[in-house]
């Protein structure tokens, strides 16, 4: 996890350095969520296979879920910080449901596309070119 870009504050290093014995906070979860999200976005932008794009979508949604759960958790919070409480978990739940629905429909579309064009390469799907 060498994601130390120039923009990270210097306090990140002692953060990770003492991770093994220091408790985990929301920020750590947010990092994970960020990584998942970014991976998903890059996957969406990069993959020419339609199913690859769908996977990217799943990753994005999961990254968001991780964030929501982190914000809802009462244990990860510092003092004085507000918590989403149960709302966060419920939102995450709904996201999962909607992701499932969306995946089903997207897959149906993809399969239709595959049946009509004999390919899953989305670069071939440029009929809406301006």
């Amino acid at each position: 996890m060498n994601l130390l870009s120039a923009g990270l504050p210097s306090t990140a290093i002692p953060l990770f350095a003492g991770l093994l014995d220091a408790p985990v906070g929301v920020a750590h979860y947010l990092v994970v969520g960020a990584i998942l999200f970014t991976s998903g976005v890059v996957c969406m932008a990069l993959k020419r296979n339609a199913l690859g794009v769908l996977m990217g979508i799943e990753l994005v949604l999961n990254g968001a879920n991780v964030n929501f759960v982190a914000f809802s958790s009462p244990y990860l919070r510092g003092e004085g910080a507000a918590s989403l409480g149960l709302d966060g978990q419920l939102i995450a739940l709904f996201v999962i449901l909607l992701a499932a629905a969306e995946a089903a429909v997207a897959l149906a579309i993809t399969l239709n596309f595959y049946n009509n064009h004999a390919t899953v390469d989305i670069d071939q799907a440029d009929d809406l070119k301006g």
Binding site: D21, V26, A34, T38, M55, G78, G85, G88, L90, A118
Partner: protein, 243 residues
């Protein structure tokens, strides 16, 4: 909760105690483990070229994410993640992969330029997100230790419209958070609609002409010719085929 359980019941505690880190926080260790798996597999999804491998990595990543949920105290959500997401959605995805994993489509490469650009954009996005993550001071360390408090019942009650968890902070003592009955109902209808729609979209269609895929399969070649074949077959299908 689990961390404490694990921490207390692991027979390897002695082993662990022998490690130089004496008071190790098992919660953090497990977090690191699951987080590492999730991130690595997510990155692997991006880097892999074979779509089947991508699917596998994705499954692993989402499973690890479920573990993260458990660690954060949202065990119901974690369970749902495993059941619905991993067990349902990803299986569906794998089905799709299997259906379309013909030889030429298994590993479609993207140009290097696109990859560099995507990498840069991804890096920028990651930078922005990470920077935001570390901004807020209260997010860095927790205030209380993990306590086992099952969340299933409050979630279930909330879905029925009754909120039994703590009231809104800062609000008048009688103010509670709103219930989720309506969204619950909507989502159920939504799922029904999706079911019907997906079924319709994916139904078996009567074909008077052979499938374009079957015609194209006879002339398997580079991706370019397949594209042209697909184009011609598609137009023939549209003009000739009727539903």
């Amino acid at each position: 909760m689990i961390a404490s359980l694990l921490a207390s019941a692991v027979p390897m505690s002695g082993l662990l105690a022998a490690l130089p880190v004496a008071a190790v926080n098992w919660h953090s260790v497990l977090f690191l483990l699951f987080a590492a798996v999730a991130c690595a597999c997510a990155v692997a999804v991006v880097l892999a070229d074979n779509v089947v491998r991508m699917a596998f990595y994705l499954v692993l990543s989402l499973a690890a994410t479920a573990g993260l949920f458990f660690l954060a105290g949202a065990e119901f959500v974690g369970a749902m993640q495993l059941m619905i997401y991993v067990g349902g959605t990803l299986v569906l995805l794998v089905f799709g992969v299997m259906l379309t994993a013909q030889a030429p489509f298994v590993a479609i490469k993207t140009s290097t330029g696109d990859r560099v650009l995507a990498g840069m954009v991804g890096a920028a996005l990651l930078a922005v997100l990470l920077q935001a993550a570390f901004r807020v001071e209260p997010w860095r360390r927790p205030a209380m230790a993990a306590v086992a408090a099952p969340a299933a019942t409050p979630i279930g009650m909330a879905l029925l419209g009754v909120r039994v968890d703590e009231p809104v902070s800062g609000a008048p003592p009688a103010a509670v958070r709103s219930g989720y009955l309506l969204p619950f109902e909507i989502v159920s209808v939504h799922l029904l609609v999706v079911l019907v729609g997906a079924a319709y979209l994916a139904r078996a269609k009567r074909r008077r002409t052979p499938r374009a895929i079957d015609v194209a399969a006879s002339s398997v070649g580079p991706v370019v010719t397949a594209r042209e074949a697909a184009r011609s077959s598609a137009s023939a299908l549209v003009s000739g085929g009727q539903r």
